[in-house]
Symmetry: C2
Subunit: 301 residues, 2 copies
C-alpha cells in the first residue's frame, strides 16, 4: 500500500566557498531535473567549501552528482586552495544517505557505482568510506583524509592506502575524493544549567562512543555564553540504533554526579520523523506502534 | 516553500452495515476521482452502519460527499433500519477534519457548504454540530442525535431544535443528518498494572473533561482480561490543545494514589505526526522546535 518511491539523499562537499560563479556552475546540475531536488547549498568562505544537500530518486541523483563532479574537476584547482576545513579533493566527500524505501545496502551500491563511473570519467582516485568502506581503517573519514591534498602523494605510496577506484596517482588539480554511504546525521544538543565547560566536557566524553559511551554518538562540550550555560553538543550518527532519548537520558544521568541539571535540548537542522517518534514511543511506553499509524504516512501513499 | 496543497478528511457515517451491494454503491463516489482518496470504509453488522474515511482536496471531497449522500438518501430507508448504534439519518453524521494547510475555519465553512447544498438537493433537514455548531447545545453530537430517527418529528416541534439547513420536516426515509467539523481524534489508551476496573474507572473519571480533568479528553476504564490488567481508554478530541503526554502523565499521577503503575500505552489507528512530535519535544525539552525540521516534511515540498 505504501508509496514505494525510493528517495536517497546526497550531501557532496566541494572545495570552493568563495567564487560564487563557480559555485553556481557546480550546483547547476541539481536544478531543473526530474526526480532530483536541491534542498540546500551553503558555502563557507573561511572553510572555502560548499555543502550541497540534494534528494531524489537514486538513479537521477547519481547522474546529477556525477555531472556536478565533472564540473568541479574542471573548475577547482586544489593547488591554489586554502581554507580552514581539512580537504583532499575538489570534490572532497560524497556521502549517500538512505531516506525512504532505500536500504543501506542500496546506498552502498549506489556509492560504488558513482565512485566507479566518476573515477573512470575524470581519471580521479576515489576512496570508499563509512558504511561503503572496503577496510575498517577507511570507515572513518578523518583517517581517509589524513594528510589532506598535499599529503596524498605520500599516502598513495603505502599499499594499504591504494584508492578503491581510479588511478593510483593523485589527480593533479582535483586531488582525491571520498565517496560513501551513511545514516542521516541528527545534530542534537542537550543544555545544562552550569557555565562550567570542564564539567560539560567530561559529560560529553562519557556519553560519546570513543569515551566508552553510546555507539552512534559523537559529543563535545560547548559554551552558550549569552545564556551563561553550556551544552553537550552531539552528532547522532545512527538514530535508528542510538536513539535520541537514550543520549538525552545518559547526559542527564552523567550530569547528576556534578549536581548539574538538564534545562532543555535542541535539534539543529533536519531530523527524520522516526527519530522523534521513537522517543515519544519510549517515554509513553506505546506498545506495538507502527509508522503506518502516522496519518501523514498514510496520506503520502 | 512548503507544499501548499490543502488536505481535508471526511468521515461520513451511513446507516447501512449489512447490504454489501448498497454499501458499495454509497462508497463508489469516493473512488477513481482526482484529488480524492478513499482511505478506509468499515461496516459493522451489529451497528448496521458503515464508517467511511476519505481525504483529499476540499472542493473535490465536498463534491464526492454530496454525491454519496444522494445515493444514501435513495438506498437507505430509516423506517426499516435497526442496529445497536444510535442514528437519526440515512447519512447520520458527516464530520470534516482539517489535516494539512486547512484551518478549522475552512473546515467549518466547508461543512456549511455541504449542509446547504445537500439539504437543498435532497430536501434533507441538517444540523450543524461540533465546531460548526450554531448553538452551544448543538456542539455535542449526542445531544443533537438524542431521540434518534424515531424521535425527530417530536424534536422538530421544539423551536430550539429547528434544523440549521433544509426543511423543518424530517425526511420520510432518510431522517436527519448532522454535518460538522472537528479535530482528528486520537485513540490513546494507558495500561495499568491492576486488574481492578473500579480503580481504573475512578482514574478515568478524574482525567476526563466531564470529571474535572483535561479539556479535550474523553475516558473510561476498560478491562484487558487476557493480560489480567486494565486500561484508561481515552479519546483525545483535540491533541493540539490537550497533548498526549499530558494525559499520559495525568493518568500516572492519579494512579499513584492507588499504588497502581502505568505499564505502557497504545495508540489505536491513525495519529497525526504532530501529536507524537509534541510529546517527544516535551519529554526532551527540545527548544524552538519547528515541524519544518522534520525531514519528511521537507521532502513533501
Amino acid at each position: 500500500m505504501a508509496n514505494e518511491k525510493k528517495i536517497i539523499e546526497c550531501v557532496p562537499n566541494f572545495s570552493e566557498g568563495r567564487d560564487l560563479d563557480k559555485i553556481e556552475k557546480i550546483v547547476n546540475p541539481f536544478r531543473g531535473k526530474d526526480n532530483v531536488k536541491l534542498l540546500d547549498y551553503s558555502r563557507d568562505e573561511d572553510h572555502n567549501r560548499v555543502v550541497v544537500t540534494v534528494v531524489g530518486e537514486p538513479e537521477a541523483v547519481k547522474n546529477a552528482v556525477i555531472e556536478a563532479m565533472g564540473i568541479a574537476v574542471e573548475l577547482i584547482d586544489l593547488r591554489k586552495h586554502e581554507g580552514q576545513h581539512p580537504r583532499m579533493g575538489a570534490i572532497d566527500v560524497v556521502p549517500f544517505i538512505p531516506i525512504k524505501n532505500v536500504t543501506m545496502e542500496e546506498a552502498i551500491a549506489l556509492a560504488k557505482e558513482v565512485a566507479k563511473e566518476a573515477s573512470e570519467k575524470y581519471n580521479l582516485p576515489i576512496y570508499l568510506y563509512e558504511k561503503a568502506a572496503s577496510t575498517p581503517a577507511r570507515e572513518n573519514l578523518a583517517n581517509v583524509r589524513k594528510g589532506e591534498f598535499e599529503g596524498m602523494e605520500e599516502k598513495f605510496k603505502n599499499p594499504e592506502w591504494k584508492p578503491d577506484f581510479g588511478p593510483d596517482i593523485v589527480h593533479e588539480s582535483a586531488g582525491v575524493t571520498a565517496v560513501g554511504a551513511r545514516m542521516p546525521l541528527v545534530a542534537f544538543n542537550v543544555n545544562l544549567d552550569t557555565p562550567n565547560l570542564q564539567i560539560t566536557d567530561k559529560i560529553a566524553k562519557n556519553v560519546r562512543f570513543i569515551g566508552g559511551g553510546l555507539r552512534f554518538c559523537k559529543a563535545m562540550g560547548v559554551e552558550l555564553k549569552e545564556r551563561g550555560i553550556t551544552q553537550v553538543s552531539m552528532n547522532m550518527t545512527d538514530y535508528s540504533k542510538t536513539a535520541l532519548y537514550r543520549a538525552f537520558e545518559m547526559v542527564k544521568m552523567e550530569a547528576k554526579r556534578y549536581g548539574v541539571n538538564v534545562v532543555g535540548s535542541e535539534v539543529i537542522g533536519l531530523v527524520p520523523m522516526q527519530a522523534l517518534v521513537d522517543s515519544a514511543v519510549y517515554y509513553m511506553g506505546i506498545e506495538d506502534f507502527s509508522m503506518d499509524q502516522i496519518l501523514e504516512n498514510r496520506l503520502m501513499e
